[in-house]
């Protein structure tokens, strides 16, 4: 598809890289020629120096022929304006990043009245992800599907776990768990395990089921599922703001440490139930004084990745759960070696959202992509809604000639959640979660050879 990306900041760049690798025709507009040059000289995209809000620039970028226009500049208002102009100039779909808390309740209004295809708020989405983790601190990562009914939970097996040495098929036969171990990450490699796979120490299991089943499963194996009681947040930026709101709503006590006076005042008036501490979040004494040793949750959300890493490594010794925000994942080989617990990258989160949107525009044959999550460089989890009869519908899964590295994890039919075995069938109206590793899956029919 022909896509115009306006704004080449951190998110813009991550987005362009991902879209480019998916084979789209991309034109990037930014008013800083140096930024375009340094960022994109090694990517096969077209660049244009100019203002994305200008009609002339958009026409020069080929907006008439574009399928999607994505605005990811700093200011929300500029992004909205870009989309409105692009929409007036052609019949394209528009995507805007809007992240100011003041617009939070107005997203639907914007979408409807300004005719936008997608409005995304990476900070809000990141905060939601982080909050889920504090609600189930033993998970490394939680992805939700089917209107939050189904979860894909990543869990790292500690050395003393009862699960070490267990065969996957015995989980169902011996322990009667109605769930599926969809992926196992061993040595940074994502595998789709078979039934005779044996769990080892330090494996990261990706478990798919409803939330209650998953909690049941973890309790069976002696893993706590209680949420944390209090969270210390360093850095009161947008993610911190949203996170504090969500956590407080679910009854968790929140303390935010922020170094800018005016921001503290804003936070204090915006989140009256949180403790706002004005001070340098990298000051060890301050952290200890404010009770880092006794907190059960810790989130490092400053704008400097290095600070976040350092703070988390320190807090890891005391807190039950630490979450580290890292914006630049270029050095992921090094970062993955650190004992950092959960890492959150807002860029990846927004990229996932947009890829999901673009793919759903691209492939609308019989099934719509409802959800898209990247699990690693190669592995992806996708959720489809089956809207039409196709070659995979109504056939027992065992008799489908599925690709080797594809797994149908879960089928939701109305209120019923099916962890499919060989005799289950996909029907029209189902929601189907598929995990694959290194295949090209764009719609549900792609799962067969």
């Amino acid at each position: 598809m022909r896509i115009i990306v306006i704004g080449c900041g951190k998110v813009g760049l991550a987005l362009v890289e991902q879209l480019n690798s998916e084979g789209h025709d991309i034109t990037v507009i930014d008013n800083d020629s140096n930024r375009l040059k340094s960022a994109l000289s090694n990517l096969d995209v077209m660049t244009l120096v100019g203002d994305g809000t200008s009609y002339t620039t958009l026409v020069a970028a080929g907006v008439e022929r574009a399928d999607v226009v994505i605005a990811v500049m700093d200011s929300d208002e500029t992004n909205l304006l870009c989309c409105v102009i692009a929409k007036k100039a052609s019949n394209c779909k528009t995507v805007a990043r809007v992240r100011n808390p003041i617009y939070n309740g107005e997203i639907d209004f914007f979408k409807r009245e300004l005719d936008l295809g997608l409005i995304f708020n990476p900070e809000m989405t990141s905060a939601e992800e982080i909050a889920r983790l504090f609600n189930f601190p033993n998970a490394l990562r939680i992805d939700v599907f089917s209107n939050r009914k189904i979860e894909l939970v990543h869990y790292k097996i500690p050395a003393d776990s009862k699960l070490v040495g267990t065969k996957l098929m015995s989980l169902r036969s011996d322990y009667h768990c109605n769930l599926l171990v969809a992926t196992v990450t061993r040595n940074d490699e994502v595998l789709i395990p078979g039934g005779d796979f044996v769990i080892a120490e330090n494996d990261i299991l990706g478990v798919v089921a409803s939330r209650s089943e998953i909690h049941e499963f973890f309790r069976t194996f002696g893993v706590g599922t209680r949420k944390v009681s209090d969270v210390m947040i360093v850095g009161g930026g947008k993610i911190g703001y949203y996170l504090a709101h969500i956590l407080i709503d679910s009854g968790i006590h929140v303390k935010i440490i922020e170094g800018r006076r005016e921001r503290c005042e804003f936070l204090s008036s915006g989140i009256p139930d949180a403790d706002i501490i004005f001070g340098d979040g990298t000051d060890r004494d301050l952290l200890v004084e404010e009770g880092l040793m006794n907190t059960s949750g810790f989130a490092a959300l400053t704008n400097i990745d290095e600070e976040n890493i350092l703070l988390s490594l320190f807090a890891r010794k005391y807190a039950q759960k630490t979450v580290t925000k890292i914006n630049r994942i270029n050095f992921d080989e090094v970062i993955n070696q650190l004992d950092l617990d959960t890492i959150i990258n807002p860029n990846t989160i927004s990229t996932n959202l947009i890829i999901q949107y673009v793919r759903s525009l691209q492939y609308t044959m019989g099934s719509n992509i409802e959800n898209f999550r990247k699990l690693s460089d190669q592995a992806e989890a996708l959720e489809f809604v089956v809207t039409k009869k196709s070659e995979v519908v109504g056939i027992e899964l065992a008799s489908l000639r599925k690709k080797s590295n594809v797994l149908v994890c879960c089928i939701t039919r109305g209120d019923k959640i099916i962890i499919p075995g060989g005799h289950d069938k996909i029907e029209v109206g189902d929601r189907v979660i598929v995990i694959h590793n290194g295949s090209e899956i764009h719609n549900l029919d792609d799962i067969v050879d």
Binding site: R2, D25, T27, S33, S41, N42, D44, V45, V49
Partner: protein, 480 residues
């Protein structure tokens, strides 16, 4: 320098050249000539060496601008060295250096020849000689870019090194599509010309070869007399297509996209048309007593200005015998060259445009020392890097011109010969003045001078820097 990537791409280039050798073989089969063996052997060598070099894929990445320039420079040298083999095996050009000269002249679309009797070549050899123009005109790396995404987005660095002009822009977001569009325009223009020439009475073989020479702005002909013995209609056809080949392909793209207004506004093309019209008018006036009939006068002037402005190198008149004013004017337009983003050679109109604007800016700075002025072309600011690169290009051009003229003078020929021979090869023109005039050839130079001229031709086609990088010792270092 990442030699893994360099080796891999060079291997791919040789494989491609091996495949292109199919065409002369087909011609050889049609005319029943025994030369096809020379081509089959060369094809075998190219494919074998190419496959050996590219059998192991390099690790991902590593094709940066430096490697791009490096591999393009080496690639063209390799193509010249291997493309010369059939001439030697078939015995038509027994001396290897001569054969390399002829091949690099063809690939760089220069059209300078060491052959005293072109008509004595076998039809197969003659075809391959002209076919190199077709390959070199738009560029081999561009062609490969259209076919296979060699190493992801990094291939842009190859196209940057091979395409002409001060700043290389893509027409559409994908490199592959850009390359396809360029080749589509290029080949369809050639197809139209070939059809017209056939309609005007030329045999298909001759029309094809002349077309290769025209749209690639090369200049290898079929006859010893170049174009001069053909009918006026044919001469006019070639004049028009030479002129069209010198236009920036971006204009054709805009026309295809029906953006006629922006197409007509391209300042580079406007300047090109202006220079063309003014030079034809001036030369016409200068030649008013040289030719009796006005129709012949204007035909000769228009043809010669076309051929020299676009750096093709065909000729219909011995312009070496023209009056001094016309000759000086011709040298001037040889220097200027065609538009950027065309198949033509020379300094390029867009560079001339930038330099003229820089001069104007400099003068204004003398009058108002505190003035801030941006150089603009087509309404857009010209990046400071582009202005600097343009100035550097002119400086390097002068260095090449001076050094090569001095090196050629070792042979003992006169200054005009040495200077215009350098100019004609560096601008991918072909004929110069005096001993290398339109009716003469380059066979009398010593082998050393021929090697200098070969470097000039390739450097000129690749716009100096890729070849200059090869001559820089630091760029060969493997580490840091």
């Amino acid at each position: 320098m990442n030699y893994g990537v360099v080796r891999y791409i060079l291997g791919r280039i040789l494989q491609a050249e091996g495949c292109f050798l199919v065409f002369p073989v087909i011609v050889g089969i049609i005319y029943g000539e025994s030369d096809i063996w020379a081509y089959l052997i060369t094809m075998g060598i190219c494919l074998a060496v190419g496959t050996l070099m590219s059998i192991r894929k390099p690790k991902k990445g590593g094709l940066f601008l430096k490697e791009g320039f490096f591999v393009v420079g080496l690639g063209w040298i390799f193509m010249s060295l291997f493309g010369a083999i059939p001439f030697v095996i078939s015995g038509d050009i027994p001396n290897y250096i001569d054969a390399v000269f002829e091949t690099s002249s063809g690939l760089s679309t220069t059209g300078a020849s060491i052959l005293t009797d072109v008509e004595a070549l076998s039809r197969t050899n003659l075809f391959w000689r002209s076919f190199t123009h077709l390959l070199g005109g738009m560029g081999v790396f561009v062609f490969l870019g259209a076919l296979l995404p060699m190493l992801g987005g990094n291939s842009m660095n190859l196209m940057k090194a091979e395409s002409t002009g001060p700043s290389v822009d893509k027409l559409v977001p994908r490199l592959k599509d850009t390359a396809k569009i360029l080749y589509a325009i290029y080949l369809s223009m050639g197809f139209v010309e070939a059809v017209i020439l056939v309609v005007l009475g030329l045999p298909v073989y001759d029309s094809l070869l002349l077309t290769f020479g025209t749209i690639g702005t090369g200049g290898f002909g079929v006859l010893n007399t170049s174009i001069s013995t053909y009918s006026p209609a044919i001469q006019w056809t070639i004049t028009v297509f030479m002129f069209l080949s010198g236009v920036n392909y971006a204009m054709y793209f805009l026309i295809l996209r029906r953006k006629f207004k922006s197409a007509l506004k391209l300042s580079e093309v406007r300047l090109y048309v202006c220079v063309y019209v003014i030079c034809v008018a001036l030369i016409c006036f200068d030649l008013r007593n040289y030719y009796s009939a006005f129709s012949e006068n204007i035909r000769q002037s228009a043809f010669q200005v076309s051929t020299l402005l676009t750096s093709t190198g065909y000729m219909t008149a011995d312009f070496d015998k023209w009056p001094e004013f016309s000759k000086s004017l011709l040298i001037f337009i040889m220097l200027v060259g065609a538009c950027a983003g065309s198949t033509g050679g020379g300094i390029k109109m867009s560079r001339v445009l930038i330099i003229c604007k820089s001069i104007k800016k400099q003068l204004q700075m003398l009058i108002h020392p505190r003035a801030i002025k941006k150089i603009k072309v087509d309404g857009a600011d010209v990046d400071h890097d582009v202005v600097r690169a343009t100035n550097a290009y002119i400086a390097v051009f002068c260095v090449f011109l001076a050094a090569s003229t001095v090196l050629l003078s070792i042979d003992g020929h006169d200054f005009t010969t040495n200077f215009t021979a350098t100019l004609a090869t560096l601008n991918n023109m072909g004929p110069g003045f005096n001993l290398v005039g339109p009716t003469c050839n380059y066979s009398f130079f010593s082998p050393f001078s021929k090697i200098v001229l070969i470097i000039d031709m390739l450097a000129g086609r690749l716009e100096l820097f890729p070849i200059l990088l090869l001559l820089t010792p630091g760029s060969w270092k493997r580490r840091l």
